[in-house]
Symmetry: C2
Subunit: 114 residues, 2 copies
């Protein structure tokens, strides 16, 4: 059991958060949290990120209604990354896709198992 | 379909790679790749990261034998994060754990569903 204060925040005070659908295991998005957004996440039980582009808190779903309800938050062995397991209320992606990860990278695909 | 060159690399030339077990959906680790390590990954069909601490290529399994065979690589809508689905040959974590994500963060757990 680790405290928020024990996590390793990068030079900008951020940690990457891998958001995963707790039911399906699908990776929905990678976003960033700072101490305060992780504390807010804990407080309200929904994901709150730090928007690097807008430099402000980003309570996922605040405008779209597509909240992500927290199931668990785990840190890795280095304490410098998080897996946030959620129950999503609607799509994770601003494009309307369920997951943000829909772009195949050339040369890698399910069709070309190596 | 996106080319490696189209991905958005950060100021250090890196992109976070979420490594996921293709069979179970478990998130195994978060590591970083640069253009060259992603190209090597494609070439050999196993994960090759860029070690930020050692500033060198890190072919996962090279010393432990715990290689990660590539199943697919997907980028997100912003092209600034990757999900790398793999078939792991042994544990992902240097501690011997199957996944690096075994540390519960205080106040969040499967026991405290919100």
């Amino acid at each position: 059991m680790k405290k928020i204060e024990e996590l390793k925040w990068d030079s900008k005070g951020l940690i990457p958060a891998v958001v995963q659908d707790a039911s399906t295991g699908e990776v929905l998005t990678v976003a960033y949290m700072n101490r305060e957004s992780l504390a807010k996440t804990r407080e309200i039980g929904e994901t709150v990120f730090w928007s690097r582009s807008r430099q402000e808190f980003w309570h996922k779903g605040e405008t779209s209604g597509h909240f992500q309800k927290i199931v668990s938050v785990m840190a890795d062995c280095d304490l410098d990354a998080l897996v946030v397991r959620v129950t999503p209320v609607g799509p994770a992606c601003h494009t309307g896709a369920r997951s943000c990860f829909f772009e195949t990278v050339e040369g890698f695909s399910e069709d070309k198992k190596q």
